[in-house]
């Protein structure tokens, strides 16, 4: 007897597969194809093989090589600065909110979460005013005599501040949800055995939320590599292109002034994608192995 065909899975998975194929898979494949071409978005792409990659990676004379190098360097700086903060701060808040004496936990949670819902451009305008030399706190309260967006290290500082402000909420919610799933008995018995709060955090909380930690770490890192809005709005890449991240160069090449240089932009994007892929895989591998 033949097994009766079950259509239910098709209906559940089908729409997602189609949307994935149309909006993610095909554009990705086309993007990879475009990276091997010279293309201005208007005419037919012209196949140039590995030329774009050679220029970006090895032609030290080329503007695109310098742009890629500088963009990648700045992106790494951003990732290095922002990711630890986006993991540690939400984790600490989530743990702190678990304390019995903390009141209005949901209100605090909402307040911390809301910034993530505000668009970067709107938020950046507010933060730029806050950091404005004449109108904001930097000049009036801290007595700072320099314009922060055009001087390092302040330019990075304000980019990180707005990133953390906007990004804390998301990870915090994940941590809170997973911490609340940890059996209370574990804490109680640990307390009876004389474990202090730090010991309980290190020996119970952290191992129990291992997977959410890996997940947020990998996702936050991948997201941070794609940074674009914050430096664009806060510093416009300055001073002297020291906060000009790779995504800004990619966008400028493909959709900037004049004729588009989409092939080169695609090649840069593919390289960035590869870097994210490798680093994410590495993170997952290392964390999973250590945790196991």
């Amino acid at each position: 007897m033949k097994k009766k065909l079950n259509l239910a899975p098709v209906f559940f998975v089908g729409p997602h597969v189609i949307l994935f194929a149309v909006f993610v898979l095909l554009p990705t494949i086309y993007g990879i194809y475009a990276s091997f071409t010279k293309w201005n978005l208007m005419n037919e792409p012209v196949w140039v093989g590995l030329d774009n990659y050679k220029t970006i990676l090895f032609n030290t004379e080329s503007t695109f090589h310098t742009q890629f190098q500088n963009g990648l360097k700045n992106t790494f700086i951003f990732v290095g600065l922002s990711v630890p903060l986006l993991i540690v701060i939400p984790l600490m808040i989530a743990v702190a909110l678990e304390h019995k004496k903390v009141k209005m936990k949901n209100v605090i949670q909402s307040i911390l979460y809301i910034p993530g819902l505000i668009s970067i451009s709107a938020a950046a305008l507010i933060w730029l005013l806050i950091f404005n030399k004449q109108l904001g706190i930097t000049g009036n309260i801290f007595g700072s005599q320099i314009a922060w967006p055009t001087n390092q290290p302040y330019a990075w500082l304000i980019i990180i501040v707005i990133t953390v402000w906007g990004g804390v909420g998301g990870n915090m919610i994940i941590y809170r949800a997973s911490i609340s799933g940890v059996a209370k008995e574990l804490y109680e018995s640990a307390e009876l055995d004389g474990a202090g709060s730090i010991r309980r955090f290190a020996s119970i909380t952290l191992p129990s939320i291992r997977f959410p930690l890996i997940y947020t770490f990998v996702m936050t890192t991948a997201g941070a590599f794609n940074v674009f809005g914050q430096p664009l709005m806060m510093t416009d890449g300055g001073p002297r292109q020291s906060t000009h991240v790779l995504m800004m160069y990619i966008r400028q090449l493909a959709f900037g002034n004049g004729e588009s240089i989409a092939g080169m932009a695609s090649a840069m994007a593919v390289l960035l994608g590869l870097i994210i892929l490798v680093i994410s895989a590495l993170q997952y591998y290392v964390m999973n192995r250590n945790a196991a």
């Binding site: 729409p15 005419n43 080329s62 314009a147 004049g258």
Partner: protein
């Protein structure tokens, strides 16, 4: 059984594509009109379109504001579907678009509308759309880099005489060195790249030589250095500070922003301001680097003759009725409008008040101007502030432009 799965997934795909395709149903009796005009500009254009549709034309116009228009234009041109019937593009896009063959000549349309001709528009706004004798665009406006001045501050510092000959020179500005109160400045750095590009004209140079980009030139260096003098003397608003805001708060004598800012300045209480030409490195010449909004038809084989006739009617309506556009602060290109008495009420009428002023509105039409403008915008701030070595940076800029050109379609080996 396998067939059934295939069938059901096919149904799913088909139904989905129908739903998606439903989005692009085009109205046969409607001119789709795309513009990149966001903000207030879009609202004024909406009003113009509404006024036109109120005249009950055979084919009405539907105005669609697309913030990322140039990206969308390349997408629709690539697929050939959903190409708008009419669009507004910026002057610096014309040479590239014509070269790529994506603009429809206006020849037939102009034949049907005899008043759509060069004599009825500001000359450079019209000629920007002329390539090898063929007209590809009809101008809406010129929008320019201009210089606003704070009347009260000019009086306070006894500098009203600067305006006498309509040329505020860099030397005149430097004469106020050491005479300003703390916190006051002569000029801000708004649209600094445009100001530099104007100086190149003032100094008799150009951005190209026989079709090749000329960025690393003595004239460019001179232009940058003369503006740098102002910054070095401490007369320019400090780097990284919002000079535009400082002008509005009454601490800066001159602000070199755009025609379109006049409405925003007018909204500032107590700001007593006027408008003049951008300062000049030369004593006898002034230039206001400009661009233009131009109506154009992107190549679209589905555009019917009725629609082309409708577009002609609409453009003729705009030519005669675009006073509304003056409210957006722009210099209206149609002579019928900019020579009308009502137009004189608008501040920007200064720039069409005489022949010399009209000539000062300079639109770069060099094919690779966008790359050069990008290079200048990227690097001029740091050069003027002395953060980088000027010779080295000029080399970088030249290379920047050349590399980009080499990657373009025309640069293909």
């Amino acid at each position: 059984m396998k067939k059934k799965t295939l069938f059901s997934s096919l149904v799913l795909v088909l139904s989905l594509t129908t739903v998606l395709a439903g989005c692009s149903n085009e109205d046969k009796n409607m001119i789709t009109f795309w513009t990149p005009l966001t903000g207030d500009d879009g609202a004024y254009m909406d009003q113009l379109v509404k006024d036109y549709n109120a005249t009950n034309p055979e084919v009405k116009v539907k105005h669609v504001i697309t913030a990322d228009m140039y990206t969308k234009v390349s997408t629709v041109l690539n697929s050939g579907k959903g190409v708008p019937d009419l669009a507004i593009i910026h002057a610096d896009r014309v040479p590239g678009f014509v070269k790529q063959g994506v603009l429809e000549p206006m020849t037939d349309l102009i034949k049907a509308q005899p008043e759509l001709k060069q004599d009825n528009y500001l000359p450079q706004a019209w000629s920007t759309g002329t390539v090898d004798g063929t007209q590809y665009t009809i101008p809406l406006d010129i929008h320019s880099n201009v210089m606003y001045y704070n009347k009260d501050l000019l009086k306070k510092y006894n500098a009203e005489s600067f305006l006498d000959d309509n040329v505020v020179t860099i030397d005149e500005m430097l004469s106020l060195q050491g005479k300003l109160d703390e916190g006051d400045y002569i000029v801000n750095d708004a649209l600094l790249g445009w100001v530099i590009l104007a100086q190149i004209q003032n100094l008799g140079g150009d951005i190209q030589e026989n079709g090749k980009p000329a960025v690393n030139t003595p004239v460019m260096k001179q232009a940058l250095e003369s503006v740098k003098k102002v910054a070095d003397a401490g007369l320019m608003t400090p780097f990284g500070e919002d000079g535009y805001l400082m002008f509005q708060s009454g601490n800066v004598l001159f602000s070199t922003d755009g025609t379109w800012s006049s409405t925003a300045h007018a909204g500032v209480e107590g700001l007593n301001f006027g408008v003049t030409n951008v300062y000049s490195a030369a004593p006898d010449k002034f230039t206001n680097r400009s661009s233009s909004h131009l109506f154009t038809m992107l190549k679209n084989k589905d555009r019917t003759e009725a629609k082309v006739a409708g577009i002609g009617n609409f453009l003729e309506f705009i030519r005669t009725n675009s006073l509304e556009w003056a409210k957006a602060g722009q210099i209206v290109a149609s002579k019928q409008v900019n020579e009308s008495p009502e137009y004189k009420d608008y501040m920007q009428s200064f720039f069409t008040s005489n022949e010399k002023e009209i000539q000062s509105l300079y639109i770069y039409t060099y094919e690779y101007y966008p790359y050069i403008a990008e290079a200048v915008d990227t690097y001029c701030g740091d050069i003027v502030r002395g953060n980088v070595d000027i010779d080295e940076t000029l080399q970088t800029m030249q290379k920047f432009v050349e590399d980009k050109i080499a990657e373009g379609s025309s640069g293909a080996k």
